[in-house]
Subunit: 292 residues, 2 copies
DNA sequence: GTTCCGCATGAATCGATAG
DNA sequence: ACTATCGATTCATGCGGAA
């Protein structure tokens, strides 16, 4: 079976309209947080945030299959000494749209941003909100079982050669890859707390989103040949992981720099070109690509 | 200085009225969670939960000192496959009362309740919501410093003398250039993710509240001779810890069984008896005690 | 070839200073 | 007053060059 990778350049509130109803198995995304990354993205203000996001989530609800899942990575910032409430308000509004708020996973960031303040400690966690269209959805729990006990620590260390793998089992939730190496070992199901460090590799792009995060959810909520969507693609971590895991993928990105970078990354195997659907919006950049 | 332990039997919405304004330094409590079954202990239905709690939080706002802190341990239940929203609604309503929602700590329960469901994993975390009356509050961060991460052990043990005087002038954060800053540093400040196991083998009651939890917050937010309040005392974990840490404490409990148990626990040193303030509500049980 | 060490780099937050 | 910018603070991690 042929795998597809579709890339779109543009605002996802518009580009999502090109995607058919009920066609996506998993949405994993990390939208720009409020007032964050102003230098790269425009920076959505805290006041506008819910209103800005709701049209997106409405489209996402449309394109997701009834058996599919939406994972939203987000965290509220501090304003004048208080945690903002826009994430809670967003959840409440999304439920009115028809989303079910199924679960909240915690991403424990082991290497969180440093700093010291008189009234708070470092923020070491983010929300991974799970939304669904239906109470019944696909979940392949066996795909993310983790080894039990301390032996995993040594076991995982020895794999560092073959693949970039971290010693994640230390903290309990264990989260590495290479499940095949655990064959024959006792495994247990993980919990809703995920321990991972952010990737701060000084190579090209700094992906605040570690690869293991989309990988874990892709394993948990999809099978091969399913379709994964990231409407805020950024540097394409989710798309890259999905492709490697033999899932079809769709990425949307508003910034040409990121879009171009991801497109270049997949260039060697690219041979199919889609025409832009909205002609008056074409730019000097190719607006969308399908890679097979 | 003499330490005091005040115990009240009754509904905290009523008993709290006996406590003076601005007299408490720290409130740590774990109220009965919302439940579908009303018959259970303190059983409050999900629908009623916010309305039931708001009169309590209003009284707590009154008795707390402006420099004090309120730590609320809570987690929403799953109902018909969805996480309930009453905790979010409660936060929004408490802000309307005048509370500041300063921070949300995560309690990672390392040994969470076992079980398996087709649509979710085990729940391994709870919220520890921090509320304050004022942006300025007492926080004794040095009291809860933790051992430095393992990475430092290997990296710091073999630093030469020349390394220690390396300049870190350049620009930017200036950290990392001078690793020798960390020589002799054994502890760092913690984050807002707290890793604790639940206490499983309690004698009588399963106090899901491990002693370390109130202990950590008492260390962080109070000094000796300060006053700690738990309006849902239960089996008295918070009170016991506060007493051991030389803090004055106030405990309120609605169930005579629990109240009596805690009272018995402190009986050997009990010599002061307070008269009930509300006579028509007296029961066969002694309604309040002050222990010095 | 291993192990060791220098270094850059973070979805941060506060308070002071500047326009 | 009210907003925008800037410096100071802090610590875990991976990479790459050195021992």
């Amino acid at each position: 079976m042929e795998l597809k990778t579709d890339l779109y350049l543009g605002d996802c509130r518009i580009e999502l309209k090109r995607i058919p109803d009920n066609s996506v198995d998993l949405i994993v995304t990390s939208p720009p947080y409020a007032d964050q990354r102003k230098s790269t993205y425009g920076g959505v203000s805290v006041k506008e945030y819910v209103g800005w996001f709701l049209p997106v989530s409405k489209e996402l609800l449309r394109v997701l299959k009834p058996t599919g899942t939406f994972i939203l990575n987000i965290k509220e910032k501090v304003i004048e000494g208080e945690r903002s409430t826009y994430v809670m308000e967003l959840i409440l509004e999304m439920r009115k749209q028809g989303w079910l708020w199924t679960e909240e996973f915690i991403w424990h960031k082991k290497n969180c941003f440093p700093g010291k303040w008189s009234n708070r400690f470092r923020d070491a966690w983010e929300r991974l909100l799970q939304f669904n269209k239906d109470k019944k959805f696909n979940m392949y729990q066996d795909a993310v079982k983790v080894p039990i006990g301390d032996w995993a620590k040594d076991r995982l260390k020895n794999l560092s050669e073959t693949d970039k793998i971290r010693d994640n089992a230390k903290n309990g939730s264990g989260f590495g890859k290479n499940v095949s190496n655990w064959l024959g070992k006792a495994t247990v199901y993980p919990t809703n707390v995920i321990h991972l460090a952010t990737e701060c590799n000084n190579k090209n792009h700094s992906a605040a989103f570690p690869r293991e995060l989309p990988e874990w959810f892709i394993r948990l909520f999809t099978q091969e040949n399913d379709t994964v969507l990231d409407p805020f693609m950024g540097s394409g971590t989710t798309i890259e992981v999905a492709k490697r895991m033999k899932r079809n993928s769709i990425g949307i990105e508003i910034l040409p720099e990121y879009y171009d970078e991801v497109r270049r990354q997949f260039a060697p195997i690219e041979y199919y070109l889609m025409e832009p659907a909205i002609e008056y919006e074409t730019t000097e950049y190719q607006r969308s690509y399908a890679i097979r």
